[in-house]
């Protein structure tokens, strides 16, 4: 399998990447592939696609609501892999990471990794599967993206890094998605500590909602993750029955991408 993640990070030429998150199936399974293409058109370098779960205990109100919309619209992991296939038919390069909780993957059964790779998925982030329990699921050739957090001290870090691949996801604040925002100086120090311990690229997320916040993080990290703000936008657009949700997503992502792309230049100046 071609390593889309490594290729994408190598192609960034020193600037930070933009990682965008949406809930798969939100607001409907039919609109998901068009929304994924809109993320790319807006300038997303990597996409995290959320696998909705009834009990998203690491997520704040925005992504909880996105999960509920998607589940009510009938999403399942099988359907989500179908959407990934549909996306891949038109986009062979953008890395796609599945993010979610362990139980839907466990329920899918032992064929998950092979089916996911065949569909065109590149990796998984399972927020309730710490290194200690990773053996529970066979993830085959998929990248297993691990999370480091403000509570991950030097004693714990080697455990997190063992078996990590693709990139390291730094959760910038202790908390759930889409709530508090981290201080850029704290993030800079944390990223420096992580980069001293691993050669993997470090992406930073949780609480990054605006172009300005994204730019501040992008000055220090290999990639910035924005999720709740996009999911909120999708929810609001769906609520007023917008007939161009992908277009609205693309416009917002463009503003994030422009901020992220300018960040290194500004900080170098």
């Amino acid at each position: 399998m071609r390593d889309r993640l490594a290729a994408r990070f190598a192609s960034l030429n020193g600037r930070a990447g933009l990682v965008t998150f949406v809930c798969g199936g939100d607001p409907s399974p039919e609109l998901t592939a068009p929304i994924l293409h809109a993320l790319v058109a807006g300038g997303a370098d990597i996409i995290e696609i959320g696998m909705p779960f009834t009990d998203p205990m690491a997520d704040g109100p925005a992504i909880q609501a996105g999960n509920i919309r998607a589940l009510e619209a009938g999403i399942s992991l099988k359907k989500l892999l179908g959407i990934v296939r549909e996306f891949r038919a038109k986009d062979a390069a953008t890395p796609l990471i599945l993010m979610g909780y362990a139980n839907p993957v466990l329920a899918y059964g032992p064929g998950f990794a092979a089916d996911a790779v065949a569909a065109g998925l590149d990796g998984v982030i399972l927020v309730d599967l710490p290194p200690e329990e990773s053996g529970e699921l066979d993830l085959g050739a998929l990248h297993l993206i691990r999370l480091a957090t403000p509570t991950t001290d030097d004693a714990r870090l080697p455990t997190v890094l063992t078996g990590a691949s693709g990139f390291l996801y730094y959760v910038a604040v202790a908390g759930v998605t889409g709530q508090n925002s981290a201080d850029a100086a704290d993030v800079a120090a944390a990223v420096a500590r992580l980069k001293a311990a691993t050669d993997l690229p470090v992406a930073v997320g949780f609480g990054v909602k605006t172009p300005a916040q994204a730019a501040a993080i992008a000055a220090h990290a290999d990639a910035v993750v924005v999720g709740s703000a996009i999911v909120d936008l999708v929810g609001a657009a769906a609520a007023r029955q917008s007939n161009d949700i992908p277009g609205e997503v693309q416009a917002f992502v463009s503003s994030l991408a422009a901020a992220v792309r300018s960040a290194r230049l500004e900080s170098a100046a």
């Binding site: 009834t54 205990m57 362990a102 927020v127 309730d128 529970e136 957090t149 908390g175």
Partner: protein, 408 residues
């Protein structure tokens, strides 16, 4: 020459979990990375506390003078005569301070919280019994306390909500999902991950990430340890059967654990709601399959896609789509037999105990009693059934009146 005979003792069933918190394939630590260092700290602190005579002395002293232990073991002679079969003993956990077994665990956990220097307590609650017990110990030790409770449960358990507030706790309504116990636990986990530095999460049952299932079991095992000794004193022998209701399963594991290596039949009663053939029940062993939720791998009510489904029971304390991992394991190895009792059967047993014994049981405990009502008449009079009367039923009178069509 005789054939080789193994002199090794059979392994104790009480030895679990293993060092990673697994009971067979169940248990473990399925939590967000932010919580992992804290969970590992908690385990270290619990090991230290277990080995510390001062911790045990303080726990025992509070059990005696604050909780009122030991709780009585009562020969239920009228009920025995009424049913005309096996001799029935009730372990009277409903006589504890706060009216249920929940306080045993809360005392243990708040002592751990104090040892760890935590300054704020959170907990989830369904019926409000664990919330009341947590608010009680938080008041006793002067720590601020926030209880997460589903908005629907708040509406149907008003007396317990008021009790928690009287005890100084903040009761935070949870409007996510079905607004019941599972959603309250999600919200408590979200609070914990956000306030991980100063907050201790007092989990109310033998579920959640390791070491919770182990430490809650250890604190609740006082039930079975006392009952075993009390029955030896009364009858000079072990019971033939021990029975308890199972939601998450803390009162049941507390009764069963000290008997695991004994020749005693153990029966756990799941809430069969409107019937196991319907989708309106809370029997995760009978109607679920293994999955991962709330920090552990265990049997869960879920659909084919691994989405968690809603549980139903007339008893709010059993209204949860999962079960503690040690129960999942005891079920899988066949050491404990798990059976279902419906809402209607539990309601009948609730009324029977009130009329025959003058004891109003909790609806949870009424599930165990309903099994006794079915099983005891067919057993010889020299057999002994030990039942865990895990809580008193005052909290349930509104639910029961409603189910019986009585307006209060």
């Amino acid at each position: 020459m005789p054939e080789q005979i193994s002199l090794a003792e059979p392994a104790s069933l009480k030895a679990g979990p293993d060092t990673r918190g697994h009971f067979g394939q169940f248990g473990g630590r399925y939590v967000a990375e932010t919580l992992m260092p804290l969970i590992l700290d908690l385990e270290r602190e619990y090991r230290a506390a277990k080995a510390d005579p001062a911790f045990k002395a303080q726990f025992d002293d509070l059990m005696t003078h604050y909780v009122g232990r030991p709780s009585a073991l009562y020969y239920a002679e009228p009920l025995t005569k009424h049913l005309g079969g096996a001799k029935i003993y009730l372990k009277r956990e409903e006589l504890n301070h706060t009216g249920a077994h929940k306080i045993n665990n809360c005392i243990g956990q708040i002592l751990l919280a104090l040892r760890m220097g935590k300054t704020r307590i959170i907990a989830e609650t369904g019926a409000g019994q664990h919330g009341v017990a947590t608010a009680t110990v938080a008041a006793r030790f002067g720590l601020p306390c926030t209880i997460f409770m589903g908005a629907r449960d708040i509406a149907r358990q008003a007396p317990n909500v008021f009790r928690m507030k009287l005890l100084g706790a903040e009761v935070r309504p949870v409007t996510a999902g079905a607004q019941t116990l599972k959603d309250a636990m999600n919200e408590a986990l979200r609070d914990w991950v956000t306030n991980v530095h100063d907050t201790f999460y007092i989990i109310g049952t033998v579920a959640g990430p390791h070491p919770y299932p182990e430490l809650v079991r250890d604190f609740q095992s006082v039930i079975g340890t006392e009952a075993r000794a009390q029955l030896f004193e009364a009858e000079g022998r072990l019971p033939d059967v021990a029975v308890a209701a199972v939601g998450g399963g803390s009162n049941a594991i507390g009764l069963f654990h000290p008997f695991l290596d004994d020749p005693v039949e153990l029966v756990g009663i799941e809430a069969a709601g409107h019937g196991l053939q319907t989708d309106q029940h809370a029997a995760s062993l009978a109607g679920g399959r293994p999955g991962i939720l709330h920090g552990n791998k265990t049997y869960l009510l879920q659909d084919a896609d691994g989405q968690i489904t809603e549980a139903h029971s007339i008893s709010a304390g059993l209204d949860y789509p999962g079960i503690g991992p040690e129960h999942a394991w005891l079920h899988e190895i066949g050491r404990v037999r798990y059976e279902g009792i419906t809402d209607d059967e539990a309601l009948a047993a609730f009324q029977l105990l009130a009329q025959v014994e003058g004891i109003i049981p909790a609806l949870e405990s009424a599930h165990a009693l309903a099994w006794v009502v079915k099983a005891a008449p067919a057993m010889p009079k020299d057999k002994i059934i030990l039942v865990n009367l895990s809580g008193r039923g005052d909290k349930d009178i509104f639910t029961v009146a409603d189910a019986l069509g009585v307006k209060l």
